[in-house]
Amino acid sequence: MINEKLTEIIVDLIHDTAVNLPADVLDGLEGMARREAMPLGREMYSCIFDNLKRAKELNCPICQDTGVLQFFLKAGTRFPYLDDVEDSIKQAARISTKKIPLRPNAVESFDERNTGDNVGSRSPWIEWEMIPGSEDLNIGFYMAGGGCALTGRAKVLMPLEGYEGAVKFVFDAITEWGVNACPPLIVGVGIGACAPSAAALSKKAMLRPIGSHNPNPKARDMEERMKKGLNDIGIGALGMSGTESVQCVNIEYAAHHPATLAVGLSVSCWATRRKSITIKGSGL
């Protein structure tokens, strides 16, 4: 069932996410702009900030690609409106598409027709995590643009290829496709047992705040080395070549099979639009 109050909250979340960058993303961009040494790169940043200012003034989406709408739910098993959540998200997508507006980006697979309202099979995309005993619902939201999604991939390596193989896999993909993903990029890397788990972990890593680190010192060291390495390649803002190219490299991992070492890659653009909100079960 559609819950109107819940729907309204989700529409507001979508609108805010489409118009205003999260604080960590904005801070990161401002720092990179200040440190940019190349004239063409500086021109790119000034266009980015002009764009952000206009979007805020007009209360309209930063980028025309408002992406595929993706929701990451942490739902308390005692949240009283669990049954309403999926219907309300779909309704919020329909309303947002008209009201904000969003670009209709759901192309129904096999029919190959744009549904016109961002609702289609398994779209918006919803991932559930249940929190035992909790009464609250935390809604994480991400707008998955096409240009940056195009860089994403996963591969199962043989363990003897090692973490060296994983590094090479990531660097090959970003050197080949990163220019089109609207850098500066946020890079998420997943290490796991099979392609889908490594891919899912890379998405989790990508959604982690800028400046956070993996608690494992080896993983953290690899995060920092990869960040420095990607910056040293010099892709620059919007691929025009420049001083820095990535905001961060975040790694998440799971234990892997003795015979496999899977690596996943998720990439997000300068316009990384992710926000979250917690709804109290008692407050709706």
């Binding site: 980028c63 025309q64 209709p104 744009n114 016109g116």
Partner: protein, 203 residues
């Protein structure tokens, strides 16, 4: 001072442009993405609106309004040009466009076509869709609405649309091709260095 190019574009207007130059565009542009290119090249159909001497934009805009009351462009940043590589040469030949506007570079086939037909490819900063929309003076019309909002053929009147960075010039120079080679070389060095430090093994 801003360098401004105005449609209808003549050979001599863009002959001296070099890769890396920043320009602005005044005049007419039509939008075409994957489906628009497919329609022109595969289905051999042309929009009623004549694009000769105008620009084609790899853009799928967000548009408000309707046919009766008029349209307004809300956001109009460029999409990845490389997806159109397969068809761009024939698209140029059939439509007579003199400027391609998109995001990221294009390949050899398009570069050769730019040289042969005297066309430039320019990039607008990706994602800067509101800045782009602010430079759209008017929506002159729309065709092929059956393709959906992002893929439809929107005809736009632009005023100082930019910054546009010339990425392929009429001499066949290709900015992203040159940069890409440099990035690849540096990548190999950087990866070798990191690999010295990530050999994690039991023990």
């Amino acid at each position: 001072m801003r360098k401004i190019i105005t449609t209808s574009i003549k050979d001599e207007d863009i002959r001296d442009l070099k890769i890396g130059d920043i320009i602005y565009l005044n005049g007419i542009a039509g939008t075409a993405r994957d489906d628009g290119h497919r329609r022109v090249v595969e289905e051999n159909r042309l929009p009623d609106f004549d694009l000769n001497g105008a620009a084609v934009m790899h853009v799928g805009p967000i548009v408000k309004g309707n046919k009766e009351n008029g349209y307004e462009i809300v956001a109009a940043g460029p999409t990845t040009s490389r997806r159109m590589e397969m068809y761009e040469r024939e698209f140029i030949e059939k439509t007579g466009v003199k400027m391609i506007i998109g995001k990221g570079g294009m390949g050899k086939k398009t570069t050769d076509a730019c040289k042969e037909f005297g066309v430039v490819h320019c990039v607008f900063p990706g994602g800067c869709a509101v800045t782009a929309a602010a430079a759209v003076e008017k929506v002159l019309g729309v065709e092929w609405e059956d393709l959906g909002m992002p893929e439809a053929f929107w005809i736009l009147k632009l005023k100082e649309f930019g910054p546009l960075v010339v990425s392929i010039d009429t001499n066949g120079n290709n900015l992203f091709d040159i940069n890409g080679k440099i990035f690849k070389r540096k990548k190999d060095m950087v990866v070798d260095e990191i690999c010295k430090h990530v050999h994690y093994s039991h023990g």
